[in-house]
Amino acid sequence: MSSFATRIRAIPSWQVTFGLALLALGFLIAAQLASEGPRIRYTSQERTPLVETVLDLQAQQQHLKQQILDLRASIQDLEATGQGSEAVTRELNAQLEQARISSGLVAMTGPGLVIQLSDSTVAVPPDGSEREYLVSGTDVLTVVEELWLAGAEGIAVSGERITVATAVVDIGGSILVNSAYIAGPYQVTAIGPADMFERLTRSAGFVDFIRARAETFGIGVSYAVPESVDLPAYAGLVSLRSGQVAASAAPEAAP
């Protein structure tokens, strides 16, 4: 035993450092290889700049969305200070505020629930399709539609408000909502009545969805019913680009 200790003490310190560094190196190589999990299937020179471009465009999008929200708030303030016929201006501003709320242009809070959808952790069988084990745009759309049917009055998916113009699109196993890239797990947040969850779980469509996706492919479906949930404002295009309003219900201005 004492000869072993003597031999250890005889090892030069640089060799100990070297050994520890090699150990850490081995650990990092193993970690790097392990992080390249089953979802990574592609290796090519052009992918890295493309991923960087996507990240850059996403950052730009966040900035543009904030600009839109700021501009809307600024216009709203100006409109409220208008000098026209006071009664008509007040009435129109009230209608405008209500229209913004009803259209999803205002962030909301209220009672509701959150459904989270996550990719399956079940191993894909050799003859299986990997896509079936990932949450798809159709899954998200199904949950959104089932929540509407269960009485939801406002919904957002991972920070993107669902509006009249919202499309949910699949691209290569990932999902776009309002043309914004959304990373999983996907949180579908809904404001609605207290019995919304009961209504949802009683719906034949939702039961079919659970059977087809959660039970068959292991798609993760979890839920939470917090005291209140928050929905962000929609920050996107609110313009008719090809069409025009066919009639106006707004009151006439006083002469």
């Binding site: 640089w14 070297f18 990092l28 790097q32 999990g37 979802r39 990574i40 592609y42 992918r47 493309l50 996507v54 465009l57 996403q58 999008q61 600009q67 839109i68 501009l71 600024s74 216009i75 100006l78 409109e79 208008g82 000098q83 201006t89 405008l96 229209a99 259209s103 999803g104 205002v106 962030a107 909301m108 509701g112 159709t138 509407w148 939801a152 009055e153 669902i162 509006t163 009249v164 499309a167 949910v168 290569g172 990932s174 043309s179 914004a180 404001i191 609605g192 469509g205 920050a235 996107g236 313009s239 008719l240 680009r241 090809s242 069409g243 025009q244 066919a246 106006s248 707004a250 201005a253």
Partner: protein
């Protein structure tokens, strides 16, 4: 000499170590969904994000013009009623609270298909930039859902029978091209329901009714 070579070896290993730590941290920071995408899918994503960002810039330009006009009116002491009314009409038309008219397409489904298939077509029309959509004479707004098996469809509880017509206001070429592209929704539905013809007809002028639903929230309140 032996001591120097040992130091060199330690330095090389430490440099490698540092490099790998950075690589590891960067790979953990990148979204796993993005990392898993093919170059082709990433290209589609870049195109989609670019289109969206351009639309957002368009919206910003519109809002800046609107702010300029409203600010000028306020400064002159003029009425801002017309600006408010225009803003109100724009939002109500977009949201489905007012009828809208313009060029677009009619999508005729001549046979029974289930609700999810109709939803797929509506989702594609939205993705192609439709200004508004109607299922027959029912305006598509949040909360409107087409459900049911083929031949027994309901639109938010109201049964619909016979052929289904989707009407959309928007650029006819863009809407039609998106629906009928190779591998697109009509091709997919054609494979699922080969006996059901689905046609897309461009139209110079279609009219969408206003929704009869109350879009105002009853439970939620604005978040300050």
């Amino acid at each position: 000499m032996r001591r120097t070579s040992g130091r060199v070896a330690v330095s090389v290993v430490l440099m490698l170590l540092g490099f790998l730590v950075v690589v590891q941290l960067r790979s953990q920071a990148a979204d796993p969904g993005l990392v898993a995408m093919s170059a082709q899918d990433l290209t589609v994503l870049v195109a989609s994000l670019t289109t969206r960002n351009n639309q957002l810039r368009e919206e910003i330009a519109t809002l800046e013009r609107q702010r300029g006009a409203t600010a000028a009116a306020v400064q002159r002491g003029d009425t801002s009623v017309e600006q408010i009314r225009a803003d109100l009409d724009r939002i109500r038309g977009w949201s489905g609270a007012l009828p809208i008219a313009g060029p677009g397409v009619r999508v005729l489904i001549e046979g029974p298909i289930p609700g999810d298939a109709v939803s797929q077509l509506i989702n594609e029309l939205r993705n192609a930039g439709a200004d508004g959509i109607a299922i027959g004479d029912i305006r598509d707004v949040p909360g409107i859902v087409v459900t049911g098996p083929a031949g027994e469809l309901t639109v938010s509880g109201i049964p619909i029978s016979g052929d289904i017509e989707l009407i959309a206001v928007g650029q006819p070429e863009a809407l039609s091209g998106s629906l009928t592209r190779a591998g697109g929704p009509i091709a997919q539905l054609g494979a699922r329901f080969p006996e059901v013809p689905i046609s897309v007809l461009p139209d110079d002028s279609v009219v969408l009714p206003a929704t009869d639903r109350d879009l105002a929230p009853a439970l939620g309140r604005p978040r300050l």
